[in-house]
């Protein structure tokens, strides 16, 4: 390779990295604004000329968690954690069972039922919300953890069944037959043979279910008032009076985003198959 073409290649590499940096800058800028705003003084937050360099203060963070929302912020976070954790667990558990059933017993139309279940995932939540509200109200279950947990479980089940079915289909039937000959029962085969084999699938599914449940807003805002409300509801509830406390909102917002962000960046290689419903591996 001649010197000129090496130089040309290096130049091209720099250009590519530069372009990528511009894109990453665009992606991170709003998050940078959120985090810096939560550490700014009120004067800097409302300054017309954007304050790039500032003396950080924890006043907003302190206000957000100890004065402003007081006890309620902690209880919203706790509600989010309870709802997300339980609904994810249930969606993965019931989803794995159903996926196994669909994968192992191919009755006429089993594939179509699986497709139909997947397509419920695409339905806009806003189209469900009126009947669901009336149902929940009828059973006197408004503002309970149970309601959100069961709804998120259901919304996630479609995805969970679909993804895990793909993983179960990849397990050769001979492995199960061998276990059967060794005297395992059906339930033992499921738990002790199949479940360990689809662990990556379970991780993928759990991540996606957690993202959905943690971030979900519409059902939470309609079906809870206070006792079972999650973080997005808290953030939206102050939307009308938002002119006042930007630092505090950004602090709560940052806190609401961080757990999922860290979690998924670490496990990002599991994401693609889930995000595309198993269409791309």
């Amino acid at each position: 390779m001649s010197l000129v073409s090496i130089k040309k290649n290096i130049f091209k590499d720099y250009l590519l990295v530069l372009l990528a940096l511009v894109f990453v800058g665009f992606c991170l800028f709003p998050i940078y604004i959120m985090i810096t705003t939560s550490f700014k003084s009120e004067k800097d937050i409302f300054a017309w000329e954007h304050v790039w360099f500032f003396k950080p203060t924890i006043q907003s963070v302190y206000n957000a968690f100890f004065i402003f929302g007081g006890k309620s912020v902690a209880s919203f976070i706790l509600n989010s954690l309870i709802t997300t954790f339980t609904s994810t667990l249930l969606a993965v558990l019931f989803g794995a069972m159903a996926a196994y059933g669909f994968s192992r017993y191919k009755f006429k139309g089993s594939k179509h039922i699986a497709f139909y279940i997947l397509s419920t995932r695409f339905a806009p939540p806003v189209a469900f919300i009126i009947p669901i509200y009336l149902m929940v109200n009828f059973f006197n279950l408004l503002d309970t953890h149970f309601t959100l947990i069961i709804i998120y479980t259901s919304m996630n089940l479609s995805l969970s069944i679909w993804i895990l079915r793909g993983y179960f289909n990849e397990i050769p039937i001979e492995i199960e037959e061998a276990a059967y000959i060794d005297g395992y029962t059906r339930v033992e085969i499921f738990w002790k043979v199949c479940i360990p084999l689809i662990k990556p699938g379970l991780i993928t599914t759990a991540i996606l279910c957690s993202i959905f449940s943690w971030n979900e807003f519409l059902f939470a805002v309609i079906l809870t008032q206070r006792d079972a409300s999650t973080i997005p509801v808290y953030l939206a509830s102050f939307q009308d009076s938002m002119g006042l406390a930007w630092g505090e909102f950004m602090a709560v917002g940052a806190m609401a985003v961080m757990p999922i962000l860290i979690f998924t960046i670490i496990l990002q290689k599991h994401l693609v198959r889930g995000l595309t419903f198993g269409a791309i591996r």
Binding site: Y100, F122, A127, M250, V257, L261, I280
Partner: protein
Amino acid sequence: MKNYSLRTSLYFILPALVIILAINIFPIIYAVWISFQNWSLAYVRPPQYTGFYNYEDALFFDDRFINAVFVSLKFVFLAVLIEFILGFSLAFLFNQKLKALNFLRVVSLTPIMVMPVVSGLIWFYMFNENFGVLTYLVTLLGFDKPGWLTDPDIALFSIVLADVWQWTPFVMLIFFAALQSLPEYVYEAAKMDGLNKIQIFFRITLPLLKPAIWIVLILRIIDSFKMLELILMMTKGGPGGYTEVLPWYLYTTGFITLDIGYGASMAVMMLILVTILSQFFVKKIEGKN
């Protein structure tokens, strides 16, 4: 193994089936029933059967509904188009074999995970006309202060910008994964056949990316069609209905004006549309598996 009977698989399927029937299937049937009623929660009178009245009302007499449909279409078209072009090109960029790009690619996925309510919050702050950083930056470039969310000509584009920020990385991620899974030997064969770069792109890469293209298009169309949070946090459909997308109109009809019969009829129409789209999607991946 002979005992893979219907009964045993039903035991495995049952818990999921019960939940899905109760929370997904039944509400759809219930929504259809509600949509045939004249039923408002604002009055204490029982629902009254009115047949297709709500549907006729929406389709032929409600300018707000027609407006919402068009605003939704405009939003979906603009957002998906921009996300597609950007995400597609960026996937090729990140597909170059460079160590630094690997790290940058992972970092750029961040917006996908941000809670939509929080995205709305951040962009609303950045769009503020008195102290928002974007307003400030634009005036530095010598422009007038734009009414990001108050100018009828701009408001929808501002929402599109926030949506593009959140979902371009998702499009990029899918195309990147698809590019990574393309078999190397095809390219070697193409080079041996003396195809140039442009021919390789159009004759080999593009056809091989077809499934990914479908997936991106349909997932993004369906998802942006449902988008509600950005509107709620930033414009509430304003100014003057210029950003009133269908989910937002449905939301206000159901839960602010409390006309649930009418709301349900719009919900059913929306469901029909999304079902058609998603069946299309399912066919595409069915073909692949």
